[in-house]
């Protein structure tokens, strides 16, 4: 594995751009991390869910008496109680999806296998599960709807009578002039159906919470690994009929999130109700099979009746397609997936005429929620498939078709057909680096060598974008009445009595190293050592360091989180100088500088005031300071990215602030007799603007690559016709292990973003580049058109028959 470092932009003493060792590692390598299941409270009750064995059934009766009789069982909670104690969760969707009634436990009907029906709480984990087996639930099974393509047929089983059918949301997106484009086209390439399959990132730690209820203040303290507390609070407060301040979210170490820990609010509500009802702390740990059956599956999406207007030389004019999205049984973050893809409508290409008829339907499967690359991955897979299918139909080299149509550096910032602005980048150069890394020139020789061993070699490209920092105003395209827009993140930086610099973040890191990158920014601005900066681990909404969109999701920390840290630290810097100017007897602020852990007069360094002195004066020795000094050395800054509310009618506007780019190339060898294949070489080139900690950025690229390889080769949530999940745990849901990893060559370039305070771009999701690259490589090796994002051996064998 070789890593090509980028050309050093400027080798300064700056801490920004340095792969400093991570602060988080000390505790994590000694098993001293605190994950949710590690937290213990005296008298806590363990919660176990009774889950539906049926995909679709009426609940005719529930009897918890036998369970509650057992000594050591503290109590239970049923859907009926939840329906009386809480209101349905707020729905993002407009008509008709907006009318569905979603409670934290099933009420009257179950809609997917594994849906929680009753919660049982007992003295021990094992007893809670034993007791849950004594809960008697009577069902009246109904037909299950498993294939979204049948959801809108007249005789299809209807999940939500309130919505009057299975249609959850639909919208038409159209920009440019389709008629003109198709008139000018030399050819129209038709693609009947492409299918992006259902899977997710299965973080190694499943969901969990320890919830305490304070009888006096009516407040819940929710220790959890939810990664978007801002969103959870917005959902839980109104449902539980309480102010958001009554919901204190606390996270520390989270065992991976990848988007799959955004929508655990239903389980958290159940824990809150029980902690109040039973007057004891409630400990809920989700096991692997529970997670697979019920949590945050990725969007499964069909692209049907696609037509692409092209010139004979491979110039792409435009496309139209019908996107059908499967939301599963409930809308818990959906239908935001119905607009998020529009952040990268043209992919990396210059076509201007685009129409997408988007339809989202409900099915008797686990609810869909964000998963790494959320909704953009599906769309980018579609555009990359289109490029490779067009190249094949026109008999052109996929590399040339890409280079001909890539948005050029000189066109940047580039406004896409729907008003998104790609800030910077050099896609063609990234492709050259990637091709060079896998030895593109010697590919012919490698092909012959593979053939000599009875194998077919294939090379595939996957070029994607990580649109980072959402403008939540795009949600109004889903529902015009929504009152969300823009984005924000909060940080506080303070100087303590003994000069300790303490930082709090509003984010919920799950391995992205926020404590490290945040301290790099603080130390850079305050000109002190990294060891002087103490970033508190995780999130606590009690710190007053959180905002409506606080959390860690959608590739945005390097912009929102670090910009908030930069803002708060700069405020602190100015306050320190202001204090020093008074202490030094009226020396002007411009004459002062921060260095070596203190503040001094630039041309008279002996006049030095250490941070400890500043902290002590303000906090414990402040008599005699001027009345209007206005210095607290405790600074809170809210970073708000510069967004406008998009034009809802035209569905036009800048939906994300930054556009990091990834170009991956995969080389596969296929055994034609069995369809078995290996990835024998792999290159990944990344451009995410200014990199604060290159090693952490590269780690994200590696993680995204491994997950993409797992998804395209083995990982899938498939259901049988009765709605039973066929891959409910790691026995059948095979994630990549050590021996599955191909050789990896990484490269990087840095095109700073003109729109962000540090020139950084949000990154980390990766847009599924590995899926596109491997699909293209299989198409190259087999000579057959690949129409599915999931290609296990049996599908490759079927392709070649």
């Amino acid at each position: 594995m070789t890593t090509i470092a980028p050309e050093k932009v400027e080798v300064g003493k700056s801490l920004l751009g340095e792969s400093v060792p991570r602060k988080e590692d000390r505790r994590l390598t000694q098993g001293q991390g605190v994950f949710v299941d590690d937290i213990k409270r005296h008298g806590m009750g363990y919660l176990h869910f009774v889950r539906s064995p049926y995909a679709h059934a009426h609940i005719t009766s529930i009897d918890v008496s036998k369970a509650e009789e057992i000594k050591g069982v503290y109590g239970t909670l049923t859907g009926e109680e939840v329906a009386s104690l809480t209101d349905p969760f707020f729905q993002i969707a407009s008509e008709p999806g907006g009318r569905i009634k979603d409670f934290s436990l099933a009420v009257g009907k179950v809609r997917f296998v594994g849906e929680p029906i009753v919660a049982v709480v007992a003295e021990t984990r094992e007893l809670a599960r034993d007791a849950s087996e004594l809960v008697e639930v009577e069902y009246e099974p109904l037909d299950a709807l498993v294939d979204a393509r049948h959801a809108l047929e007249t005789d299809a089983p209807v999940l939500h009578d309130d919505a009057g059918g299975n249609l959850m949301w639909e919208g038409v997106y159209e920009w440019g002039d389709l008629d003109q484009a198709f008139a000018e086209a030399d050819q129209v390439i038709k693609i009947d159906e492409l299918h992006f399959h259902r899977f997710n990132s299965t973080p190694l730690e499943c969901g969990g919470a320890l919830v305490e209820y304070n009888r006096g203040t009516g407040q819940w303290t929710i220790h959890t690994n939810n990664q978007f507390p801002g969103f959870a609070a917005i959902m839980m407060g109104p449902a539980m009929r309480c102010g958001l301040d009554k919901l204190r979210f606390v996270t520390q170490d989270i065992g991976g999130g990848f988007g799959n820990k955004i929508t655990s609010h239903p389980q958290l509500v159940t824990c809150c109700l029980l902690s109040r009802k039973l007057n004891r702390p409630i400990q809920w740990t989700e096991w692997r099979t529970d997670f697979h059956m019920s949590m945050s599956h990725g969007n499964e999406r069909w692209f049907r009746d696609t037509e692409v207007a092209v010139k004979d030389d491979g110039t792409l004019l435009g496309f139209r397609t019908k996107a059908l999205d499967d939301a599963g049984a409930w809308l818990r973050y959906e239908p935001l997936g119905g607009v998020i893809w529009a952040q990268v409508t043209p992919g990396m290409y210059r076509w201007r005429h685009i129409r997408v008829d988007f339809t989202q339907v409900a099915t008797n499967k686990a609810p869909v929620s964000p998963n790494r690359g959320y909704s953009r991955m599906q769309h980018l897979w579609f555009t990359e498939r289109v490029i490779d299918i067009v190249a094949r139909e026109l008999g052109l080299d996929p590399v040339d078709v890409r280079k001909r149509n890539y948005i050029r550096t000189e066109d940047m910032p580039y406004e896409t057909p729907n008003g998104c602005i790609y800030d910077s980048g050099d896609y063609a150069r990234m492709l050259d680096i990637a091709l060079d890394l896998i030895g593109w020139d010697s590919m012919g020789e490698k092909r012959r060598d593979a053939e000599s061993r009875g194998k077919r070699l294939g090379v595939g490209i996957g070029s994607t974008l990580d649109s980072g920092t959402n403008n939540f105003g795009q949600s109004r395209m889903i529902n015009p009445e929504l009152q969300f827009s823009g984005n924000n993140e909060v940080a506080t930086v303070k100087l303590d009595i003994f000069g300790e610099i303490v930082v709090t973040l509003g984010t919920t890191p799950q391995g992205q190293g926020h404590e490290t990158t945040a301290s790099q920014v603080v130390a850079e601005i305050l000109n002190c050592s990294l060891d002087d900066v103490h970033v508190r681990a995780g999130h606590d909404s009690y710190w007053n360091s959180h905002a409506g969109f606080s959390g860690t999701y959608a590739s945005q920390f390097a912009v929102t989180g670090l910009s908030a840290v930069k803002g708060a630290t700069e405020m602190l810097r100015e306050e320190i100088k202001k204090l020093a100017s008074v202490i030094f007897g009226g020396v002007p602020v411009e004459a002062l500088e921060l260095a070596e852990g203190g503040v001094r007069i630039k041309d008279n360094p002996e006049a030095f005031l250490p941070f400890m002195a500043c902290g002590a004066i303000i906090n414990a020795n402040n008599a005699g300071l001027p009345e209007d000094l206005g210095v607290t050395l405790n600074c809170r800054y809210v970073y708000r990215p510069p967004f406008e509310v998009p034009d809802i009618e035209r569905k036009f506007g800048n939906l994300t602030l930054t556009y990091a780019a990834q170009i991956h190339v995969a080389v596969v060898e296929v055994d034609p007799e069995t369809g078995y294949y290996d990835i024998v070489d792999y290159a990944a080139v990344d451009d995410c603007g200014k990199r604060i900690n290159p090693q952490i950025v590269e780690g994200q690229v590696m993680g995204a690559t491994a997950q993409a390889i797992g998804a395209v080769m083995h990982e899938t949530f498939e259901y049988d016709e009765d709605g039973n999940l066929l891959t409910p745990n790691f026995y059948d849901y095979h994630v990549p292990h050590a021996l599955d990893m191909p050789p990896l060559h990484t490269g990087a370039i840095e095109s700073p973003s003109p729109f962000t305070p540090l020139g950084t771009k949000g990154m980390g999701e990766g847009g599924g580049a590995g899926i596109h690259a491997v699909c293209a490589a299989i198409q190259d090796a087999t000579g057959k058109i690949v129409t599915d994002s999931h290609n296990p051996y049996h599908r490759v064998w079927e392709l070649m028959r």
Binding site: R125, W287, E718, D732, L739, P792, Y793, H794
Partner: protein, 264 residues
Amino acid sequence: MLLREVEYVKPSSIAEALTNLAANDGARALAGGQTLINVMKARAASPDVLVDLSGLEELKGIELGSDGTLSIGPMTTYTELMDSAEARARPILGEVCSKIADVQVRNRGTIGGNLCANDPTNHLPPLMAAIGAELTITGAGGERTVPASDFFLGVYMTAVGQTELLTRITIPAGKHDGFAAVTLGVDGTCIVNAAASMNGSLRIAIGCVDAVPVLIEVESPDTVRAAVRAAALHPPDDVHASSEYRAHLAEVLAERAARQAVGE
């Protein structure tokens, strides 16, 4: 992850173990636990009593006879077999064991446990059937020896009765063996596997296509595929392979194992 109530006994002799098994029809032997404990976690099936065999030294050990036959104690772990000098007399044993799951599982999982669990995707049932192993079963009434071809009866079911124990695995001398599999990722669970052994005739056993290994005998690798088609397999279909794909893999892998056995 949360098992049902179960009793636990750890006998110090085979006789005591047999008594423990006979005392309760819900008693089951616990060898390495790499299958049984996972089935108990899923609460798909729950024994009433676990009879831990790890205290029985007589069930361990590998001996190489002067005539080249190997006698393996069922409580031998995969790792012990891979490291055993004696077992190198039949190299295929160590090679196949080294492909089972991972280090942790191989350190604790046992040869006998693998055979008695007889999960259709296990590596060893088809291997033992192909190389013609003999399995000694001890019950209250004494010992009897069963050829591998008659040992496997169904999923998680073998000739070892509920009140009996597998006490020895005897493997005839031989060197011309082969094993081929298509797995879920490298060293993953088998989608289809096939073992072959040349000992006079060419014996091939195909796994993952039925509840028990499917045995065929042919003269040479060239007739293997036809023989597999003649066996008219109708394997299970699941998310990893259709019945048709498994039947196809059975042909291809049986031939590959056979060619490896005859040294092509």
